[in-house]
Symmetry: C2
Subunit: 160 residues, 2 copies
DNA sequence: CTTCCTGCAAAAGTTTTGCATTAAC
DNA sequence: GTTAATGCAAAACTTTTGCAGGAAG
């Protein structure tokens, strides 16, 4: 398992990051008087591994033995706790991803053919110019800005 | 424009624009072998008047006497025809707006408290810089970009 | 031991569809 | 007159909830 240097080092780093994440999630659940159960841990692991927003169906496939009702309930708890973000993607299925506070700010490629979503980051300069413009706009319109979400819609490599 | 800054001139200009819109919609429906019926015309009028994405419930209130099933069916037809755009906003209700091809490119303020959405346009310079960056990103990732959608989430004036 | 979580099944909510009738072309 | 659109009611769909049993702290 510790075989080749590059992958080994990357894996170690990822493991550390994942440990930190679990600690952070655990803390949040405690503050909300909730328990970080095996199922909830499993859900977080699934979302970490995915690196893209997942549907309930996809999560269900990746979290064997967890009934749908528990899935929905735990995802609701994790959402209230600020651990996961829930939104409805293209196709009217709810999708879930880890909150940006835990993973960092990013946007999404959305394939309009197969519906797949993948995470993507904008170049820093573009992102901050955009944020400046949004702040200015919001101020002018009397809107109190909290965050922004950008979907890039088109065809993924496989569907092109 | 004709230079007059009074309301009458504005209304005339708006009426003209709406006529053009109806003609464009009619053409699209013909090409799809569909009919531009009274109900469909009424739906388009409602969406034009709203200047923001509406839920089925809201449309239902603004289009008296149209049964929900007809609403859904006609909105589906108009979506297939490329006249309206359907998406799911915050709160898991479907929302509908006229296609950007008919109204022009814009984004949305989304109030996370009351769920209201309002249309907003970015300054041209920011918009084109963003588009350049997205094009570059998409090229690099092998993604064929068709459009982008930006939601500015926060609190509207009334909820702040 | 007390509180929260789990799992099943049944309910609630929005959206879609079957079928007889009506309107558009 | 032919074909598509309409309206009602019933179905299908994702998502939520009640309740008895089990696990966590």
């Amino acid at each position: 398992m510790t075989g080749d240097a590059d992958d080994g080092a990357e894996d170690d780093a990822e493991d550390d990051a994942e440990d930190e994440l679990h600690t952070a999630v655990g803390t949040r659940l405690e503050q909300a008087e909730g328990r970080y159960t095996r199922q909830r841990r499993a859900l977080v692991d699934v979302l970490v591994g995915a690196r893209q927003p997942l549907t309930v169906e996809e999560i269900h496939a990746l979290a064997p033995g967890v009934p749908q009702s528990s899935l929905y309930r735990n995802l609701a708890v994790l959402e209230e706790t600020g651990v996961v973000h829930r939104f409805t993607g293209h196709g009217d299925f709810a999708r879930f991803e880890l909150a940006e506070e835990l993973t960092g700010h990013h946007h999404h490629f959305v394939c309009s053919n197969c519906g797949a979503m993948t995470d993507v980051e904008l170049p820093g300069a573009v992102e901050s110019r955009l944020e400046d413009a949004l702040a200015e706009l919001s101020r002018r319109e009397g809107f109190t800005i909290a965050e922004h979400r950008l979907d890039i819609v088109g065809l993924c490599r496989s569907c092109a």
